[in-house]
């Protein structure tokens, strides 16, 4: 995971990363063998809709009823995990793709991160609605994104690689000093 750039305002710290290992996993979630393969290779079960499961090395996010996104927090392990998954899913109707180059990941830190995202996203970001473990795919401004909480004061946002420089500009603009007022 390489920090590409960062932007700091009074209330918000934005960091952009690339090289984060990501694997797209397609398959039939209700299939016992699929579940078993997943538990064996990732030590994580299938997450519920709109949620993400994490352990020390990996996060597993629910993208759609037949798609998961595996995020590999430890550098250099992607290829190995992909091979393991491919091996354990052999013979099952499934698809494992390394998509590490497809997206960029942003970390937004600061107590007002909800207010920042609320400038562009129509989803309910209240503390009672969007919690640790929630994983939402939505839009921010005109960019398709997904996000989940890292801690009470920080959130990860992913977007398509080609949109990342536009999105970075969007985030920096939204983080301008004097534009964030506590709401949530």
């Amino acid at each position: 995971m390489i920090e590409v750039r960062k932007h700091e305002s009074k209330e918000i710290l934005i960091k952009e990363f690339e090289g984060v290992g990501m694997i797209t996993l397609r398959g039939n979630f209700s299939n016992k063998s699929f579940q078993k393969a997943l538990t064996e290779s990732c030590k994580l079960g299938v997450p519920k809709p709109l949620s993400i499961k994490s352990n020390k090395d990996l996060s597993l996010a629910w993208m759609s009823p037949d798609e998961l996104l595996l995020i590999i927090h430890t550098d250099g392990k992607t290829e190995k995990i992909k091979k393991e998954l491919g091996f354990s899913l052999e013979g099952m109707h499934s698809l494992v793709l390394d998509v590490s180059g497809s997206r960029k990941i942003f970390m937004i830190e600061g107590t007002l991160w909800r207010e920042l995202l609320a400038k562009g996203s129509p989803v309910d970001l209240r503390k009672k609605s969007f919690t640790k473990g929630s994983f939402l795919r939505t839009r921010i401004g005109q960019v398709s994104v997904a996000f989940w909480m890292v801690s009470n004061n920080s959130v990860y946002v992913i977007c398509g690689r080609s949109y990342s420089s536009f999105f970075y500009e969007w985030l920096c603009n939204a983080a301008v000093d004097g534009s964030l007022r506590k709401f949530f």
């Binding site: 698809l95 793709l97 998509v99 497809s102 999105f167 500009e169 004097g178």
Partner: protein, 1004 residues
Amino acid sequence: MSARISKGGRLLDPSKRLSFSFNGRNLFGFQGDTLASALLANDQVLIGRSFKYHRPRGIVSSGVEEPNALMSLGHGANFEPNRSATTIELLDGLEVISQNHLGSLEWDFGFINNFFAKIFPAGFYYKTFMQPRIAWKHLFEPIIRNAAGLGRAPSLPDEASYEHFYAHVDVLVVGAGLAGLLTTYELGKSGLNVLLVEQKHFLGGHALSGDFEVNGTPIAAWIEKTKQELANLENVQIKKNFTLVGIHDHRYLIGYENLEVAERLGQSAIRHRLWRLRTKKIVLATGAIERPLIFAGNDIPGVMLSSAALEFYKLYGISPGDRTVVVTNNDLAYLAAINLHDAGLSVPLIIDVRDSSNGDLPNLSLSKGIRIEFGKGISSVLGKKRVSGIEMCSLKGEGSVQETIPCDSVAVSGGWSSTLHLWSHCGGKLIWDYKLNTFLPNSSKAPTDENGENFIFVVGSAAGSFCPSQIPQNIKETVSTLLNDFQGVKQKTTKILIREIRYGDCDSTFVTPEGAGEKLKTKCFIDFQNDVKLSDLRLATQEGYESVEHLKRYTTLGMATDQGKLSNINGLKYLANLVGKEIEHVGTTTFRPPYTPISLGSIAGEARKGLFKPVRKTPLHFWHEANGAVWEPVGDWKRPYAYPKSNETIEQAVAREVTSTRHSLGILDASTLGKIIVSGPDAGDFLDLLYTNVMSNLKIGRCRYGLMCNENGFLFDDGVVARLSEESFLCHTTTGGAERVHSWMEEWHQTEWWGKKVFIQNVTEQYTQITLAGPKSRLLLEKLGGSNISSENFKPLDFLEGKLAEIEARIFRVSFSGELSFEIAIPSQNGVEFWQRCFEVGSKFDIIPYGTEALHVMRAEKGFIMIGDETDGTVIPQDLNLGWAVSKKKKDFIGKRAQERIFMADPCRKTLVGLSLQNSSDKIPDGAAVIIGGGGKRSNEVIGHVTSTYFSPTLNKPIAMALLKGGEKLRGKSIEIPMEFDKALKATVVDPKFYDVEGSRQND
């Protein structure tokens, strides 16, 4: 004169003096003032001119209903026209200019006096500017355009920042008057998440001008106390300067937060914030707006609403005049009389159109010795730019003057209209209340949400509770109903006691005197901003405009910036009289969002300049930027169009890029091409349904050019499909088509052929795709090393997965340029490294980067089609001589049935041909119409159009492709392309393959 006095002024901070300028004059006000109160404090009674007649106008109200006090603020990039002075919080250094006058505000050359006004009646424009037609363009339109609009448009781009904000709340309470505060308090105690919004810069609404007590605490102190208590509740938020401007379907609301003051004080980076809210329930505590009474001269500066007179005094310490006559049809207006009297100002007379009133307020006035005349009215207001007196008459009768009373201010009240615009936005209906003389929400025709349930509740004077003492009970009941929809939330009622005041019945009179003749009626204004008078409404109904919607448009009643907040109800009442109906049968015009004007900046939000529209960049973008690329937008992408050198024009650069690629080696960033993986046991079958040709029999390691049609049979995308493995295909799409084709595949898979076992994954962004084209491309790849791409081993349309320069790569032998060419897909992260390696190694092969235009020129030289150029949504593959790529064997594919329709096989369909210009210095315009040529009188029949046109540096002549009726049959024939001034270009129909027809170069 109007002036600041030492009493009243609940909102003022007299220790903070603010200076501002009005038409260049330096004036002073205090912190807490609105611009309107500050102008009145400086005796600025004349503040603007009306739209049509340029009549002198004064401040009529103290709120958003104000029709007259429109101002231009600021200068340069901060200039803003048409702002209402009653809604602007005064700020130190504010620059204000009045509007709509030719010459000065005092001496306006545009003024149209009463005599000339008669020749500008309702519908004047419709009737006058009809004939002769030529005069419209050269005479009428320029004059009207010059007169149109109020303030000047800003001349510089706005430099302020705006933004949107999305929020979800349980309950939104609109309006922080007594009812809004009490509701919020009650809901807040129950634990719900509540947002209270108030359009003004203070809490309390009309109640703050009152003198009653709540639970023994004077109202102003109670408001302050309640504000503190609400601030301590974590589940409650209060926003001032926040107007809820629209209620839309499915409980979607638009709010407008005005942060101008905070912005100018350096406390906010944002000027206006547009809120996009979703709530479960909404409580409207929007209060009521006072209506004027109508009498001759009611537009003369110095005539204002009684509520405005009261509020200016109570909140801002303003005396509206030294001598104020009050004229009313209800008890509430007496509050103004009593307060002004108590302030030591003269109230010579209260004219009450009613026969009597036994309310507490009239009795209190009498006990204070204020003279009241019942059953009277105003015949005329005297004065021109300012009130100098009134003429009293009997209400019944035609207005013969009984007494002339000198005064410099008139406080008027024609009753109160509950503010129900928001109730109506989403379909709520209104019902006329004859006792209260106002429309009230019709609870049996309430607006409904997505569950078909009522979601808007109305409390306080908006619901007809005009007496404060009624409000606590009203709220207790409403909150109890509202909470039914929140499971497990308990109501916690606080006991609220407000002493009852007895009101006399109000009266439906709205015009004085009742028998006013035409002479008076032409001076009786209903809509102050647009100069609509009683006589105009009479004329309109006489001419047949009896429907309220027609009347509005014909007379412009209620079409001004205030949207008829003062004038609508009076207009409807008068219309009802004229057509002999009750007001409830006349109906209202439709209330539409926004409730008050909002800035265009707030609607745009942050989407301006660089953030207007997303720009997609490939991993190599920065390299192109550093190497002087000029850009072409393709969808959201930015692609290099060409790389002109410092001494080159763009055309020269394109020609150089084409020539160099054809002679040695060109490199192109093709990363934007769509790449979609289709994988699963049924992948081949599935693709057979989507492409016109067969994909299932493609061999592993091979590529095939494929076409996609829609169900109409029309071609919409093309690209190369590669078979990666038994179950896995990689489908390339056009740059603009990646998302479209991906969702097209998903749609068919999810909604028609969900039984097919395939997974579809868009991997466009995963790869940097690079095209190496030209006779030396193979040499370069060999030099990079790692894969066997020799001509024996790696044939056209082969593909392999291997390594190049130690980097994992997929290599496709495909050509869109007609040269020996390889497309290489590298994981995005490694793209830059690979691209740079190509340049390092390629320098000995004269490698140059080429852009999209060179790509297009080369494909046109080869007669290859381009989606969007040769196709326009009505073209089938057969039209483009691509019938070979449409399977005849397959039982079904998308578009097959459509292509069986007879007109798809019509020999008259336009088909693709090449055009060779007879004069090589000519340029064919893109999209030009083509006609059959041939001396003498030209045939005007258009036989088709030009789809692509370029100058070919390879052939050193212009080339073009066209879709022509008859197509191939015209080969060798001469056609013409008509140009301006009766000229025409002559061309010959040729084969669209202009260069290397046999394809020996790409197959080398």
